[in-house]
Amino acid sequence: MNKKLSIIFVFILASLFGMNIVAKDQDLSYSERRKLEQMPEWSKEGILSGDYMEGFEDYALDQFVFRDSFKSVKSYMELYGFWKNDVNGIYVYDDYLIKRVEKYNPDSTVKFTEYIKDMANRFSDNSNIYYMIIPDKNYYVADESYQTIDYKEVFDTIDEELSGFTLINAKNLLTLDDYYKTDTHWRQEMLGSLLAEIDELMNLDIDFDITEYEANEYEEFYGVYAGQSGLGVVSEKLIYLSKDLMDSVVVTNYESLEQEHSVYELEMLEGMDSYDVFLGGAAALITIENNEEDNDKELIIFRDSFGSSIAPLLIEGYAKITLVDTRYMSSAILDQYIEFGDQDVLFMYNTEVVNSSQMLR
């Protein structure tokens, strides 16, 4: 037996050694959505300080052959072998992968409301200010599971502090089913009732009807938790809703002015994050100009990534929509790009941003 054991051991060591040496280094991990460590550079200082060895271990880990498979082995062992409740903070509820928020920061909620109020004050008194807080998926299962965030406290604090603005009560109109199973985001095709509410509260007068849109399907969507969890999840359908109107709007992304943009950047579907199909993904400043609109109403949306998928459904209501993400640009330079006048203003953020509001610059 010891002979067979010795052979197996040496075989495993030798083959993984050989494969690691031979395998080409990868630049990116699609499943983890990040760049992978590369071989550190040789330098006398690096070696003498120990940095090189640390870098080498990081490199060896990131470039290990069958990395994704090994991660899966760990995830399955954790959840089903050792019966842990979650893996890397991600737990399974029905078929949904949900990532628990690590730590609750009640101070952050207060700072968030102060940030919103300061921003709102920059607009004129005639401006209509709206706010919408989108619950992260944990909210919908909070009664039945251990959570860190006290959602009631968060929502109560916000509603009290922002009572001067109009609330669009997303949490009352959404359920867990309106979100992707393997991603943080909501599903655009499920936003019908929310849009109806917005139509009414924001006086859009568009008589929102989701069935008027064409549902385009992408069948191979793997959300952010698919890779992070390491669990073998089935792909989901990502649906983006289109109307003829969308072909004639002018989309400008201030980080890439020389490029032409559209409401749906279809080449993103096959990229690392298919959700980036909505307005091309994360961006500091985007405008959507609708020349077919008779009115000259303007909307400024201060948003996070949830904004990318709801904004296309608001195009009909405005001549111009500006989307601002102050996680990627400082609010101090905003007046170079926006006129703080009497536009409609919508603040829409999800609870994770509220809980880490230091992200908002």
Partner: protein, 466 residues
């Protein structure tokens, strides 16, 4: 470099094994030495010189001792060797501790030196000292080959985290080793099990312990979970490392002494210390306790000797008063046991003995795990419900439940139950079944452990203070 890393497992070790087994036998010590120096160099590119220095010092001192037996020169050489090694250890490990205490006692304002501790210095200085002392005592022949002595000192399986190998244990094997699949296969078993203990159990328990320590919602339960998790983490980390060392030693033909023998099943602290980090206990016994007279010079002297050994044992673990306190705590219990407590324990039911040991060790590790008095007092207050915290919190219940299987496995694994069961089953079942089961288990553990390393965010090296 640490054993529980892919750099070691899948880069260093395959090359080391290959290099060793293709080298002709008479050059194998050289291969081991070079490999071990590379192993150490990757972690200590500059302090590797200390390793070389310590080896050189003891090489020459031992030759002087053996050539001047019976004369005062031999004694001077012995004292010189000990003094040099201890000075090196004290300088690199304790200088800032000494400076800090001097500053607070004498009001001086000496700047701390800020030296980083060379990895494994407590192990290799103790090892080289034991070599010289054993040569002096004529319990070992001096090693004439500097390279062979170097191989003994730098031997990578035990270099950075023990066990502390006495020269006389492997003197013969340094010169001549047998190799066989039996030996190698046994080594593989010990190594893989040790690796699994470290990566699957110790790291996970450590994660839990840290989570409880920094919990945003502390409760009495979270303090206890944290304390239990830490006590188990330290056991599995340390004994896992020792298993890996012993396993690797076997692969290269060396028989190292055992370092752990199910310490948590002890019925007294005296027994615990004969089962935990045995090589350190034996070192202090042979080189401090017995030379001081042991227990052969009267009760009072015996107590003093135990106290000295335990002060030093505590101190050896780290340059901080909480380690000394830990040593004093355990030493006091051992003295009390020697005086009367053992007799009391013998009359009590076994269960009481076990509970006594488990709780005392648990508390001792609370001392071990908190560097400041505030931390220590805070932890005990938390555990005994004196702080203004609830008995349980949602968080502690959630994580206690989440890690429950790990904790149960750790409890069971800390007893000989699994080992005994395996032996019983092996006798009952068909040979082939046993064989394939063992292959599956060992192969599976190796791959699962690799998976855990690849997806790890928590893989601490606990011996940075040694």
């Amino acid at each position: 470099m640490v054993f529980s890393s892919v750099t070691f497992l899948y880069y260093f070790l395959p090359l080391m094994l290959l290099g060793y087994f293709i080298t002709p036998i008479k050059y194998r010590n050289l291969t081991l030495l070079v490999g071990s120096l590379i192993f150490y160099f990757t972690g200590e590119p500059i302090y590797i010189l200390l390793l070389v220095f310590s080896t050189t010092v003891d090489y020459f001192h031992s030759l002087v001792i053996s050539r001047n037996r019976g004369s005062i020169k031999a004694k001077i050489a012995l004292i010189s060797s000990i003094a040099i090694n201890l000075s090196m250890l004290i300088f690199f490990k304790y200088s800032d501790f000494i400076i800090a205490n001097l500053n607070s006692l004498a009001g001086t304002e000496i700047e701390p030196l800020g030296l980083s501790l060379p990895i494994g210095i407590s192990f290799f200085t103790f090892q080289t000292m034991s070599y010289t002392i054993d040569v002096y005592r004529e319990e070992a022949e001096p090693q004439k080959s500097f390279l062979d002595l170097g191989t003994y000192v730098a031997l990578f399986p035990q270099l950075i985290a023990g066990p502390i190998i006495r020269y006389k244990t492997i003197a013969k094997e340094l010169n001549h080793r047998e190799h066989s699949f039996e030996l190698f296969g046994y080594g593989v078993q010990r190594f893989v099990i040790g690796l699994a203990k470290k990566v699957l159990l110790a790291n996970t328990l450590g994660e839990l312990s840290v989570m409880m320590k920094y919990s945003a919602n502390p409760s009495v339960l979270s303090y206890w979970i944290g304390a239990i998790a830490f006590a188990l983490q330290i056991y599995y980390d340390f004994s896992g490392y020792s298993d890996m060392a012993i396993g690797l030693g076997r692969m290269f033909g060396f028989h190292f002494q055992e370092n752990f023998n199910y310490p948590y099943i002890s019925r007294s602290i005296s027994e615990f210390w004969n089962r935990w980090h045995m090589s350190l206990g034996q070192w202090f016994r042979d080189y401090v306790y017995i030379p001081l007279g042991g227990n052969r010079k009267g009760k009072l002297r015996g107590i003093r000797n135990i106290a000295v050994v335990w002060l030093l044992t505590g101190f050896w673990h780290g340059a901080s008063w909480n380690f000394v306190l830990w040593g004093v705590f355990l030493g006091t219990l051992i003295i009390l046991e020697k005086l009367f407590l053992l007799k009391v324990l013998e009359k009590l039911p076994k269960v009481t003995n076990h509970l006594y040991v488990v709780f005392m060790i648990l508390f001792s590790f609370v001392l071990f795990n908190n560097e400041t008095m505030t931390g220590i007092i805070g932890s005990f207050r938390g555990m005994f419900g004196v702080l203004d915290i609830p008995l349980v919190s949602l968080e502690s219940v959630y994580y206690g439940q989440s890690y429950l299987v790990f904790i149960i496995i750790s409890f069971v694994g800390a007893t000989p139950l699994v080992s005994n069961l395996t032996v019983k089953l092996s006798k009952r079942l068909h040979d082939k079944v046993v064989e394939y089961a063992s292959l599956a288990v060992i192969g599976g553990l190796l791959l699962i452990t690799t998976a855990y390393l690849i997806d790890s965010s928590f893989n601490p090296f606990l011996y940075f203070r040694f």
